[in-house]
């Protein structure tokens, strides 16, 4: 069980960043957190992994209220991992391999096991060829994948991805989408935060929309993206698939793959 109940985050009541947030993260995976810049997405993520402490309310994980002692956090973080937005701030070594192994070495895991886990992660992210490379010479997208690999090797049940496509070129972006889908098919419980609406529509099933630290909307794909005015109010927009549905009267396709398939076969509605 992973839940957030009436949680506020901030130094005191005058400087609250998140107000009264309630999330149920157990159902409808993957989950998307939508919000404009400064809406509190990153703060929410930091709180979800126990790096920030809520000033009010609580996080419930596995039937228990999340505790903040070193031991409890240690146990919690073996279940929940996070990939931050900026790869340069989470890559510490010069060689890819060393960096990905950092957490495992901190845990004192045997080298054979480390090698095995690295192999799995590198294969999953298509970066086996970067293994011995110097980080400095990698592209931004490759660095992002290295950052994901270093969390993947921890084999956590949950993975939180903060702005996974920010700053990527179209090719890098579509590769990232491919990778996230692969993670999901591997059985990882994924929570995404982004304002890349097309990405979120394509990947996630259930959504929470943040505006200035408040939860203003939540629901399934079908519910959330049809609320045009609320989305605009939160400085967001509708995904293009929803726009063509509402403005051109095309059917509402579930994701881009379905759209491409329908268009390729001529579609049922567009003969």
């Amino acid at each position: 069980m992973f839940k957030v109940e009436k949680m506020c985050v901030g130094y005191d009541s005058q400087e609250e960043i998140l107000h009264n947030i309630t999330l149920d993260l157990d159902n409808h995976h993957p989950i998307g957190i939508l919000g404009a810049n400064g809406s509190g997405k990153s703060t929410l993520f930091l709180t979800l992994v126990g790096l920030l402490k809520p000033s009010k309310g609580k996080i419930i994980f596995g039937d228990k209220k999340l505790g903040y002692s070193k031991k409890e956090l240690f146990r919690f973080r073996q279940k929940v991992g996070i990939v931050f937005q900026e790869p340069d701030q989470q890559i510490f070594y010069t060689i890819v391999e060393d960096d990905v192994a950092f957490a495992l070495r901190n845990l004192g895991i045997a080298e054979e096991e480390i090698a095995k886990r690295l192999d799995v992660a590198f294969d999953l992210l298509d970066i086996q060829h970067l293994r011995k490379k110097t980080i400095q010479y990698l592209s931004y997208g490759q660095k992002k994948r290295v950052a994901i690999a270093s969390v993947l090797v921890l084999e956590t049940e949950w993975i939180l991805l903060d702005e996974p496509t920010a700053g990527l070129d179209p090719a890098g972006r579509s590769h990232m989408i491919h990778i996230i889908k692969r993670l999901i098919s591997e059985g990882k419980k994924v929570i995404l935060s982004s304002h890349d609406m097309d990405l979120m529509y394509d990947i996630c099933q259930y959504f929470y929309v943040l505006k200035e630290g408040n939860l203003i909307l939540e629901g399934t794909k079908q519910q959330v993206f049809l609320e045009k005015n609320l989305l605009l109010d939160a400085k967001l927009e509708q995904p293009w698939l929803v726009k063509i549905h509402q403005q051109l009267g095309l059917p509402l396709y579930q994701d881009e793959a379905e759209f491409s398939k329908q268009v390729a076969t001529g579609g049922k509605h567009y003969g």
């Binding site: 930091l46 996070i82 931050f84």
Partner: protein, 226 residues
């Protein structure tokens, strides 16, 4: 923005001329230096109330601020009143260790007292000053004091970049925490070293970008202060 600066911008005293605030700060400091412990304690209480009221902060927060430097004050207090001597004539309570006496020094007690109140009083003055004078007014004051412009520029740039540095440090630290970087003492040392390395490399990178953008803005070597 540093939260102390945000508080200063929202202070009830924000529109008072910075010169007046600066002079008031000086006068208060002199009073705190000269006064007896009774005056210092009374002034401290008044300043605490004024600070909490004008800065709109909770009492809890103010107490936290005071508690922060308290260990340092207490350590100096203790080191002053404890002394080691050959005789125990001046000592209130003492233990004899290897023919020497260790204990509370009676003569040092009033001195320690006044030092304690002076320190905490000056602290209260400084708190009031820093939560009622936002940074731009501080720069103006420095300029009025005829400080060299190089010094003011450095102050300004430090203020501008310290947040970036803090944020970056926090981001790296968070990423390391999530990957068990501070699990044991050994890994903590190692992670701290890595943190400094990454911070240094990133700072250099940012510096290079800043040089480029300064170049594009006809930078001549100094930042004019209006």
């Amino acid at each position: 923005m540093l939260s102390i600066d945000r508080i200063a911008y929202q202070s009830k005293l924000v529109n008072v001329a910075p010169e007046i605030k600066g002079i008031a700060y000086l006068v208060l400091l002199i009073l705190m230096f000269q006064g007896t412990p009774l005056i210092q304690a009374t002034l401290f209480a008044i300043l605490a109330v004024v600070t909490i009221y004008t800065a709109n902060i909770t009492i809890k927060r103010y107490v936290k601020w005071i508690l922060l430097p308290l260990p340092f004050i207490l350590i100096s207090f203790i080191t002053i009143i404890f002394s080691v001597t050959d005789t125990d004539t001046n000592l209130l309570v003492s233990v004899s260790v290897f023919g020497k006496y260790m204990g509370l020094n009676q003569e040092a007690l009033p001195m320690a007292y006044s030092l304690f109140f002076r320190a905490i009083g000056c602290l209260a003055c400084t708190f009031l000053f820093s939560v009622s004078v936002p940074f731009n007014q501080m720069l103006l004051l420095l300029k009025k004091c005829r400080l060299p412009s190089v010094l003011i520029e450095i102050t300004m740039l430090m203020y501008r970049f310290i947040f970036i540095l803090i944020e970056e440090t926090a981001n790296i630290y968070h990423a390391q925490q999530m990957r068990y970087g501070f699990r044991t003492l050994k890994t903590s040392y190692h992670s701290f070293g890595l943190l400094l390395k990454v911070l240094f490399v990133q700072s250099f990178d940012r510096y290079e970008k800043m040089v480029v953008s300064l170049e594009m803005k006809y930078f001549q070597g100094d930042f004019p202060l209006h």
